[in-house]
């Protein structure tokens, strides 16, 4: 096992690090670093607004939804580049937690199954967080439990 970056990975890391250093909302770094499981909040700021602003900034510079194709607002990056980005983004990545479902689940599902016209209409607003998504599906991973959403007929409504 070799945990060192390849030359290409190291170059990507340096580029990511430089951009984050120059653009991240550093006034919140301390609070975000101290946030623990079960509590990500900012004093004196609306976290949703801060998160959306950071997301938009990333999208404008091509650093949002790294694993998405460029045509839908992503970067077309490799999985390892996405990991490197997450390592470098560090505490600021906590701001993205509210977009995980839209970017990680809804978007990729649309990419796999929606028509091209729909993909062009609905996907590009997601990376800059002009729109966000929720999943009314069973929680991952795949478990053949009871159906999660909107069972028909209505008399059989169950929890998911």
């Amino acid at each position: 096992m070799n945990f060192d970056d390849t030359a290409q990975e190291a170059a990507f890391r340096a580029e990511a690090k430089a951009w984050i250093g120059a653009n991240a909302p550093k006034q919140y770094e301390d609070e975000l670093r101290k946030a623990s499981l079960g509590r990500v909040a900012l004093k004196g700021a609306n976290i949703l607004e801060v998160a959306k602003a950071w997301q938009k900034k990333k999208a404008d510079a091509g650093w949002a939804c790294l694993h998405w194709p460029k045509e839908y607002g992503g970067r077309g990056a490799s999985p390892i580049e996405r990991v490197i980005w997450q390592q470098e983004e560090g505490p600021f990545g906590r701001l993205s937690s509210m977009f995980i479902i839209g970017h990680g689940m809804c978007g990729p599902t649309m990419m796999a199954f929606a028509g091209e016209e729909q993909k062009r209409k609905y996907l590009p607003p997601l990376p800059p967080a002009r729109r966000s998504g929720a999943s009314c599906s069973p929680s991952p991973p795949a478990a053949p439990t009871s159906p999660a959403c909107a069972p028909v007929p209505r008399s059989t409504a169950t929890n998911g």
């Binding site: 945990f3 390849t6 990975e9 101290k34 623990s36 499981l37 079960g38 509590r39 949703l48 490799s78 999985p79 390892i80 996405r82 990991v83 997450q86 390592q87 560090g90 990545g93 509210m98 479902i101 839209g102 990680g104 689940m105 809804c106 990729p108 599902t109 649309m110 796999a112 199954f113 929606a114 028509g115 729909q118 609905y122 729109r131 966000s132 998504g133 929720a134 999943s135 009314c136 599906s137 069973p138 929680s139 991952p140 991973p141 795949a142 478990a143 053949p144 009871s146 159906p147 999660a148 959403c149 909107a150 069972p151 028909v152 007929p153 209505r154 059989t156 409504a157 929890n159 998911g160």
Partner: protein
């Protein structure tokens, strides 16, 4: 036309769109009669009710659908093929391994470094050190398991089901770590407000959130099944309703 309800919808209160798995045929086995759609969360008939958590936060919702009309053009995949579509949704979620899982260990280590017990600093107490050492080993195991997955990604491979181990181990660990941190605080652990607690209620918040980790994204039991069946190759768990039509699955003790 959709009627029904879904609980634990993370972030529905700030979402513009949703994807929705519906039961379109109750006369076939449970995973066969599902169809996936996407919808505007502001559609008439969609009601988002926040859930108040033990920690006081409201990150999740219960979403109600009353006579919600979704055009067929918003269907994702074929009718009754929603299970396959949802597997795509879930596989994508599993690919996001990234920066590793929260264990609570770094927070506990910092806390023990500053905490004073009756007979001296907590970090010099043998019982505390023994606990810290065990958790340090576990945290390192998790770290290098995640590094192994990252190495696989770097080589262009897809991480496999063995990555289910991370959340399984970390979920119960963070619960134990938070409980221990509260024990160390003694009576001060029972706080009346975050301002009054040691390190501003950090471990209290962690303790209240931790059980959720063991449920979300696949419960501990499901993770163990995945590891048993897909990693270790053990015989499958008994699934009595796998081939039973959904509307024939008993929901009462006696008919």
């Amino acid at each position: 036309m959709i009627n029904g309800q879904k609980i634990w919808t993370s972030g529905a209160h700030y979402s513009d769109y949703g994807i929705l798995l519906t039961r379109t045929d109750p006369t076939v086995a449970k995973h066969k009669g599902l169809t996936m759609f996407f919808l505007d969360m502001k559609s008439p008939g969609v009601e988002v009710r926040p859930i108040k958590q033990a920690s006081g936060a409201s990150d999740f919702n219960e979403v109600y659908f009353t006579d919600v009309r979704i055009p067929d053009s918003q269907r994702l995949g074929n009718v009754n093929d929603g299970w396959n579509v949802s597997l795509t949704t879930l596989m994508n979620e599993r690919m996001s391994i990234g920066a590793g899982v929260a264990t609570g260990f770094p927070e506990l280590f910092d806390f023990c470094n500053s905490l004073m017990l009756e007979d001296g600093p907590a970090i010099e107490n043998r019982a505390v050190r023994s606990k810290l050492a065990s958790w340090a080993v576990k945290a390192s195991g998790l770290k290098y398991t995640s590094m192994r997955a990252i190495s696989a990604l770097s080589r262009g491979e897809r991480p496999g089901p063995e990555n289910s181990i991370g959340k399984l181990v970390a979920g119960s660990m963070i619960q134990d770590v938070a409980t221990y941190a509260l024990d160390l605080q003694g009576a001060a652990g029972a706080l009346s407000g975050p301002e009054d607690a040691e390190v501003a209620g950090k471990f209290q918040a962690m303790l209240l959130r931790a059980p959720g980790t063991r449920v979300e994204g696949g419960t501990d039991e499901i993770m163990r099944n995945i590891i048993a069946e897909r990693v270790l190759g053990l015989p499958g768990d008994i699934r009595v309703d796998k081939d039973v039509p959904f509307n024939k699955i008993p929901t009462k003790g006696r008919a």
